[in-house]
Amino acid sequence: MSIQVQNIHKAFGNFVALDNLTLDFPSGELVALLGPSGCGKTTLLRVIAGLEQADSGKVLLDGEDASDTHVRERQVGFVFQHYALFRHMTVFDNVAFGLRMKPRKDRPSEADIKRKVHELLQLVQLDWLADRFPAQLSGGQRQRIALARALAVEPRVLLLDEPFGALDAKVRKELRRWLRRLHDELHITSIFVTHDQEEALEVADRVVLMNHGKVEQIGTPDEVYRHPATSFVYGFLGSANRFEGRSAAGGIDVGGTHLATSAHHVGEDNEVVAFVRPHELDILLDEEGAGIPARITRVLSVGALTRVELEGSGRQDGQHYDVELPYESWHAQAFNAGQPVRLQPRALRVFAQNETAGTR
């Protein structure tokens, strides 16, 4: 089922959670709503579910205006951040709840319910836990039971609020893969909210980046990562080194250092901010050549990647930079801590300064 959100506005007192937001969620996709906390992503999810009433705007489910449809008639599956399992019911009763609450004429027989619940428990691979209570389960197990419970009523859309937020790192990775596989099996339109960019980029078909109640960018994980539309998106999707300067012919000027790049989209002689990912920044030993002057302060060489922390010198004094490079190439160039070097970006993304105002 497709979901369309049209001109949704929602404020809590003075705080604008959703600022006249319009979005399309095509049928059958797994979409991530990604953004920092307070960006309105959970509110949007709750508005779609009907748990929160928007001040203005419309939610269309399958092209039909759902604004006046009660939550229980919207046929959405909602997985809460803290699972919200019914603590006094067994796992079986939790999953059976939605079926048992149906009006008598639509309610399946107790035998059918039993069959259905066991099917779902097998789907989430937890059939053996049917008689346990939620308090006796681990976080990952609770999450999967919450999902089975939401699927029991055969929802047209699945909404997940920070589905992996409360789990430890290892379980989180496992569940991510599992959710992706499950979605590929069921093909139910799903939206999940997360503040973890890695999670969004890894699991989703499409990522919606939100900030201050607005959409910053929509695209496939590859698109948003490689072609960030705004400086906010660039900064949010992975770590970034930031340079402030002015646009000049054939590049930008950062504190007297010219960095060659294509910056004509921001015009000449404008305040700009430029970003480069740590693995796209080269350390050069040539003290007098091109590049930003800096000093190595700390080296972390654990694993395949070596992380080098640097501090700007000269007019960039006090600036902090991160560089990542393969351990082998680090090893090949013999750098020492404290050594003066130059930093040369290989790929620089330039944004006009006024466009970033308020986002950082």
């Binding site: 579910a49 748990l51 939550v71 229980r72 959405v76 599956g77 909602f78 809460f80 803290h82 919200a84 399992l85 019914f86 603590r87 006094h88 019911m89 709840f97 939605g98 609450m101 149906k102 419970r149 939401a150 029991a152 009523v153």
Partner: protein, 291 residues
């Protein structure tokens, strides 16, 4: 309540832990004297009076004791006390759940006022409450003329006693439920609604099971208070023997008549009620912890 109980118990575990280690163990003299002080205080001020009640009640033998409890005025007082509790506790049950639900699940104007009002019976002297009812409902009160024109008697009659009892027991159930329902949040209820449950199904299948032990605890406390209330009831009752005397009022009358054995006999009933309340209360706490 569940939260209070669990903190109590984690303190208990912590105390045991501290006690088990030489490094953190308290000097036996300090421990001993604190223990003796506490126990003798409770012995003198709580246990001894309880014993005295039963000793005095049986001072003139079982015959007098039974007679004191079975004479018509005493029987009428017992029935009136049970009746007042039987009306006020269910009323408070409905009101307490409704108020706690409203306060913890909705945002509305005057919410703070409602919370304050629920606490009013705790903060105001019961005598004042009784006097207010007299002022409003007695023959010379605001509604007096209208009430006597329609031949309705509230003050110095059973309805007044029920009113006064309801007033003093209002906070018990709501106060017990509000912190628990606040701690539990509304996510489970929202989950139930998303799964298609109707309002009463949500209440019956999700809300009520989650609050049942706190609710029962509130009912027990409110019942104990309803049966034991003296001040407010005393003002509105009029002390008509065999008609508007509750058990506590009956005890007072007997005592004022120097009929000590009978007074203590009736008082022992109230004391037994208190003991029973404590037993049931401990059982509920134990069950709530086990869940």
């Amino acid at each position: 309540m569940a939260a209070t109980v669990s903190t109590l118990y984690s303190h208990h575990d912590r105390a045991a832990l501290l006690e088990s280690r030489q490094a953190t163990r308290e000097n036996p003299w300090v421990k001993g004297s604190i223990l003796v002080a506490a126990l003798s205080f409770f012995g003198v001020f709580l246990l001894l009076p309880l014993l005295v009640v039963f000793v005095e009640a049986l001072a003139k033998g079982w015959g007098t004791y039974i007679d004191a409890l079975t004479e018509p005025d005493a029987r009428s007082a017992i029935w009136l006390t049970l009746g007042a509790a039987a009306i006020s506790v269910p009323l408070n049950l409905v009101f307490g759940v409704a108020a706690a639900w409203a306060i913890t699940r909705f945002e509305f104007r005057g919410k703070q006022l409602l919370i304050t009002l629920i606490d009013l019976p705790f903060s105001v002297s019961p005598v004042v409450a009784g006097l207010v009812y007299v002022l409003v409902f007695s023959n010379h009160g605001w509604f007096g003329p209208w009430l006597s024109a329609h031949d309705i008697k509230i003050i110095f009659a059973i309805p007044g006693i029920v009113l006064a009892t309801v007033f003093v027991t209002v906070p018990f159930i709501a106060r017990e439920l509000i912190p628990l329902m606040q701690a539990q949040g509304r996510e489970e209820e929202e989950a139930a609604v998303v799964l298609g449950a109707r309002g009463w199904q949500v209440f019956w299948h999700v809300t009520l099971p989650n609050i049942r032990w706190a609710l029962l605890y509130g009912v027990i406390l409110s019942n104990a208070r309803a049966m034991g209330e003296f001040g407010a009831v005393s003002v509105v009752s009029g002390h008509i023997r065999g008609e508007t005397n509750t058990l506590p009022l009956h005890v007072e009358i007997l005592y004022n008549e120097y009929n000590f054995a009978a007074a203590f006999a009736v008082a022992s009933l109230l004391a037994l009620l208190a003991l029973l309340t404590l037993v049931v209360k401990s059982w509920v706490e134990w069950r709530a912890r086990r869940d």
